[in-house]
Symmetry: C2
Amino acid sequence: MASPNELQASSVAPDRLERFIRAAFLALGLPDADAATVARLMAEADLQGSDGHGVIRLPQYARRILAGGINTRPAIRVVQERPGMALLDGDNGMGHLVMRRAAVMAVEKARTTGIAWVGARWSNHAGPASLYARMPLAHGMIGLYFAVGNANHMPAWGGLDMLLSTNPIAAAVPSGDEPPIVLDMASTVAAYGKVKALAARGEMMPEGWMIDRAGQPLTDPKRAEEGFLLPLGGMQAGYKGYGLAMLIGILAGTLNGAAMGSDVIDFNHDDGSATNTGQAVCAIDVQAFGDVAAFKSRIDTLVRELRASERIPGVQRIWMPGEQSHQRRIAYARDGIPLSPKLLDDLGRLAQQLGIASLQETSHA
Amino acid sequence: MASPNELQASSVAPDRLERFIRAAFLALGLPDADAATVARLMAEADLQGSDGHGVIRLPQYARRILAGGINTRPAIRVVQERPGMALLDGDNGMGHLVMRRAAVMAVEKARTTGIAWVGARWSNHAGPASLYARMPLAHGMIGLYFAVGNANHMPAWGGLDMLLSTNPIAAAVPSGDEPPIVLDMASTVAAYGKVKALAARGEMMPEGWMIDRAGQPLTDPKRAEEGFLLPLGGMQAGYKGYGLAMLIGILAGTLNGAAMGSDVIDFNHDDGSATNTGQAVCAIDVQAFGDVAAFKSRIDTLVRELRASERIPGVQRIWMPGEQSHQRRIAYARDGIPLSPKLLDDLGRLAQQLGIASLQETSHA
């Protein structure tokens, strides 16, 4: 699962990356503690190999902050609350701050109620969905996460107007000796980032990722603007992915009073407007259902029997959801996080613009 | 979306069907109130067009009860409880009774906590997932439902040992003037019932539903036992459906101490063993998040903008999840529920065996 960026990449130590990101957000006007939180979460995204959702987003975040599209000093507040839920108004702050707070609240509440759900409106892009689904893990809890994507790339099933995003769902399940099970998936066949990556490399997409406005397969990623992503299930069962995208969008967006459907701002083409991004975290306390150690042992058993399964000829290994990220995290912590030359250039220009030390000049811990 | 069974079908009034099912369960030894509850839910399944999960299952349920595989006098009890959750032990009773109780509890708890989750173990097949996801609707709540299927038809992604079922997820979202949004989907490309229906009609499956043990497309449904269902996403993105099936199975099965993986009993080939079926219902109280009428109006707006979308050439109409079931419910309530000659024969034989009036002889209300 080597990312194309790794081919000629330079490796950067995770803590150096985190310091650099922190310096950037300080320069952009975030309070110290907030800059540190966002930097830690963004570096964690890169560390687990979510390279479309980590530091690669920093130039875009900076552009949005400089255009007034993100509030650097948000007063994140609870606007609705019950014992098992809360609704946050993110005051248009960085999504990482809003959703970290949501996850912390969900865990605290779930300790008492057994399950808790914290949604947010007026949030922003928060990085990879799995970051927040994983937060309850350390507390012996299952985490779920839902988000409305920040650009509509998909119509209703059978439609042409792009009214739905790649709305992701993530889930994390605590385990014993095995790595936790971590699912993080867009409700489309392919995420839009994969299309952009192929376009950059001049390669074609496989049939089934996108169709054009006549309903025909679209395989040239340079023509991506002429078509749209197919929902999970593809031509055959895409109505299921369409249903999932709608459900996730309702849970994360509509329920919270956040953007969904035609309200969604395309943050790739609009730096200045508040996105009113909606997300939600749910924490389920395993202890409420019985002994946590027994549960973790059942998960380990399940993982091992799936992994030990006889395989289709040619398949080298059966992977659990999240297992490849887990291995990447170990490898990158040891060897550094690979960043492409283009990304290093972009970050170099950003450092100059913000008047901070470049990534290469940033001190190692 | 006419079911093949409708082609030469006789129509039966919903209340007559319900009375017949109730008489069957009384004859099988269920207490009167329980027989009435199961009959109401099974008839409701047929009324909404879930014809693979309604009265068609009655002969199988009867067989299991007569073989001692289902407990007709269960003491369903709460084994774990917190303000926002409960875990039920279904005492191997009919799944409909267990999951109806779970949904009622979830709604009651969510009124206070904002969200509540009730899981079950030692339950049984409970009919279509949407039945229980829909129960919170009348209380202004969103319903979610998760279940472990009662037969493993799918391996891990890349594997050959069938360790996963078609584990379904269902969700229901209250609306205003529009029908509620009701999603009910297996985590496979096609449900196994569809394969069996094609086999019965001597038709072939489209490529993408199943593969054989060499990883090649399997299109002859009569060879279904030689292969397995592909997870949602198919050959291209089936690892996503695999992840979903695993997650749903963990939430509904492993978390509750119910069967998952190799523990799952194939109830098509084993009438006598308790299945230890696991399911879960979650209720989310919309009122906790804000004004319910405003939410319903936002859902109506979303539905209308999706439906009004420009369409791919040849597409007649854009459907919302659950909208076709909604229309079927109206039509069947008016015209009767179509039952195939084969099903009528099966039910006739069952009536004789149980010594009850046949469906045709059952009094109309």
